[in-house]
Amino acid sequence: MSTQQTDARRVQTAGITEGAGVTASHTSRGHALARFALPSIFLALIVIFSILRPETFATSDNLRTTLITQSVLAVVAIAVLLPLIIGEFDLSVGANLGLGVILTTGLSAKQGLPLGVAATIAVLSCTGVGLINGFFVARIGINAFIATLGTGTVLSGAVLWYTDARVISENVPTTLVDLSSQDVLGVPTPALAMFLVALVVWYVLEHTPLGRYCFAVGGSKDAARLSGLNVSRLTFVAFMTSGFLAGIGGLMAASQLGSGNPDVGPSYLLPAFAAAFLGATAIRVGSFNVLGTLFAVFTIAVGITGLQLMGAPFYIEPIFNGLMLLIAVVATRYLQRERV
């Protein structure tokens, strides 16, 4: 890919990333220091913990575990990326992922449907939720923040209703767990699924007109419409893709848990947004991007794993997560300002 072309693209979603403290108004080229700050921290953490805890951290088991456990979060973070790029929030992804988990496990365990059918219905339902979100936002013109808060809340209620607030663990087909405990070419399947999702979304965003159109809509809906873009259709596409990926994430989570926990979905929402925003401070500074988002997810994971291996308590996770986001955003702002 041509770097001049891509590294210069900046925050189209100015309102949102500026809100996150990433300034849009500076230079064309991301400051090299800012662009690679997060990847550098990622590498530095790996090196430090490998030296400090060679026998537990620097192991292939740890690598496998990290890849597998973070794969769901990475997919959900990429899911929220698309609405963010067109300038909208999708707060329903967490609950939507929960719907995917419950339908995959519940339809096969309680209704006795074949796993493939249950999973397909689950992913389609999640995509359908995206369709509903798109309808509220694009057709009726409701603020996405409010609309997706509404659909997400309804979904979490529906999940409680279907499960009676109990974990679905009996009669879950063992093939579901088998799905995520295999390797393909030495790569665990959840990690493979994650890389596949990342690759496809990256390709669409960077190398197709569709991606460029989404950034344009995020820049100015009015200008996009006057430029001949179908803003309403692009909004639908973004929310439906977000819903579809939440469904994929749900399927992956169900497979890893081997059960349907009604509480699992919402816990992904805030970390996913944090990763998307943190990702916008790297690679293409000030712009939401897939590679940066992956770095965000895994930098946080590596940091937390390492700290826990060093004996840090369980509550280090959200603290580290939040601090990373704040520090990265503040640092980006500082680095960019100094440049002027």
Binding site: M1, S2, Q4, Q5, T6, A8, R9, R10, V11, Q12, T13, A14, A24, S25, S28, E206, H207, T208, P209, R212, Y213, F215, A216, G218, G219, S220, D222, A223, A224, R225, L226, S227, G228, L229, N230
Partner: protein, 504 residues
């Protein structure tokens, strides 16, 4: 002794002289116009006065004979009696006039921090009346006409100044105002000056300088190149001072009449304001549209270009009736629109120049499943060359180009498609004199390449110079059509204003 005396003020940015030893004198009671192209140093000068920039050592600023400590801080500038109203007024549209006046100043409060609303209201009304501005303090700001909003910003800036002895700086206050609204603002500004305030008035519109200002200072390349009484100057002299050369084509007579085929026909076009407009435009012809705000002139542009659905009437393109469902249909049919507000409607300021220029033709660069970034960039580079967009850096963010170059880019984005109909809504808005001439040259080039061109413009002088024919819209109808020898600025104005006078 002048009220404000700036001496030898300089400002260097990273080795670049933005301001080189500039002097500026403003008397009490005077409206002093400050003009110059974008980048001439106007904003830098003002920002040094407002405390936003630190000037280089060696300059001085005196207010009422008292030297001010440099660099100024915003607080010191305010305390000394200098008030600034920027183009973006810094008001909150959803809050009331009274609340807007209290921003930055604070409310009168009683025990327990309770706001004394009655006292506030009385104070707000008094201060508004002091500036001859009779608006109710409880109305949300956005319900006011644009000129009234600007006046509220002025009142807010001046509310704590003593009568007389203070400076008011207005930075392009009319950029977003229609002519009629601007007239009301001028009356208020004259009154404020008459009360002893010194006013610095920054504008790109030269006729405003002549109708409003007493004196004018011209900056070019960071230097003062002219200061004189407006009465001693002709417009031509002023333009030469601003640009540093004659703008030949600004004064060439209107282009020769064309005999192309009729491309665009509108019959009995209706919308929210439009009430049965009928007209036709030939290939190669430039037709201007004049009218007051609310006459339907912008709506006309938007309906023709498919950006707004008409409420009735018929549009024909090359004799065939068309019904656009949106801008996409219009673009496919060869009808393009350069919209009024380039920052929100015409362009994507966060994207790069290349991305802006090629957005409408992006599918051309999508081959074998991949966007050909290199071709995309090359085409952008060629367009920038052809349309004179400087500097020629396609990867630069759109927002970092000057207003004139931004506008040229919005025009280039559409004109390189060789449209059948090109609609321009206020093409010369918010750009400096030099870029303006280039932009109007591009409009003319579009017609020479065979497009039927429709230009909505509130600058009547530009209409006179640019157009073959001018339609005057009044009450949503085409009330007059001027061409040939009858196409003169004052004649247009006459027709634009007729119904107003009849109603009065």
């Amino acid at each position: 002794m002048p009220l404000l005396a700036v001496r030898n003020l300089s400002k260097t940015f990273a080795g670049q002289r933005a301001l080189a030893g500039v002097d500026l004198d403003v008397d009490a009671g005077e409206v002093h116009a400050l003009v110059g192209e974008n980048g001439s140093g106007k904003s830098t000068l003002i920002k040094c006065l407002s405390g936003y920039h630190q000037p280089d050592a060696g300059g001085s600023v005196q207010l009422s004979g008292e030297p001010l400590d440099l660099p100024l801080t915003p607080e010191a500038a305010r305390a000394a009696g200098m008030a600034f109203v920027h183009q973006d007024l810094g008001l909150v549209p959803s809050m009331t006039v009274m609340e807007n006046l209290a921003i930055g100043r604070g409310y009168a409060t009683g025990r327990g921090g309770r706001v004394k609303w009655r006292a506030e209201r009385a104070r707000a009304r008094a201060v508004l009346l002091r500036f001859g501005h009779d608006v109710p303090p409880d109305v949300p700001l956005r319900n006011l006409a644009p000129a009234d909003q600007t006046l509220v910003a002025i009142v807010r800036a001046l509310q704590d100044a003593e009568q007389g002895g203070s400076m008011l700086v207005l930075d392009e206050p009319t950029a977003a105002l229609p002519d009629r609204e601007a007239e009301r603002l001028f009356a208020a500004v004259r009154e404020i000056a008459a009360s002893g305030v010194g006013v610095i008035y920054i504008s790109h519109r030269l006729h405003e300088v002549f109708s409003l200002a007493d004196r004018v200072t011209v900056l070019r390349d960071g230097r003062r190149v002219l200061v004189d009484d407006v009465a001693n100057l002709t417009e031509r002299q002023l333009v030469r001072a601003i640009v540093g050369r004659d703008l030949e084509d600004r004064f060439v007579p209107a282009p020769a009449q064309t005999n192309g085929d009729v491309v665009l026909e509108a019959k009995d076009l209706r919308g929210r304001r439009l009430d049965g407009a009928t007209f036709a435009v030939r290939a190669g012809e430039i037709v201007g549209v004049a009218g007051l705000l609310g006459s339907g002139r912008s709506e006309l542009a938007r309906i023709v270009a498919g950006a707004q659905a008409p409420a009735g009437g018929e549009i024909r393109l090359g004799g065939e009736p068309v019904a656009f469902r949106g801008p996409r249909d219009a673009i496919d049919a060869g009808v393009v629109l350069v919209p009024e507000d380039r920052r929100t409607q015409g362009a994507f300021v966060g994207l790069t120049m290349a991305e802006n220029l090629t957005l409408p033709s992006l599918p051309d660069f999508f081959r074998a499943g991949r966007l050909r970034h290199r071709d995309d960039r090359r085409v952008a580079e060629e367009l920038m060359e052809e349309f004179g967009i400087r500097p020629n850096i396609p990867g630069r963010r759109f927002a970092e180009f000057s207003g004139g170059n931004q506008q040229k880019a919005v025009i280039a984005k559409w004109l390189h498609r060789r449209p059948r109909v090109a609609v321009f809504d206020e093409p010369g808005q918010g750009v400096d004199v030099g870029s303006k001439a280039e932009i109007y040259r591009l409009v003319r080039a579009a017609a020479e390449n065979g497009s039927a061109v429709l230009v909505v413009d509130s600058d009547l002088e530009e209409l006179e110079l640019l157009c073959h024919r001018v339609l005057v819209l009044r009450d949503g109808c085409v009330a007059a059509e001027l061409e040939g020898a009858g196409l003169k600025r004052d004649r247009i104005l006459e027709h634009v204003l007729i119904s107003q006078e009849a109603a009065a």
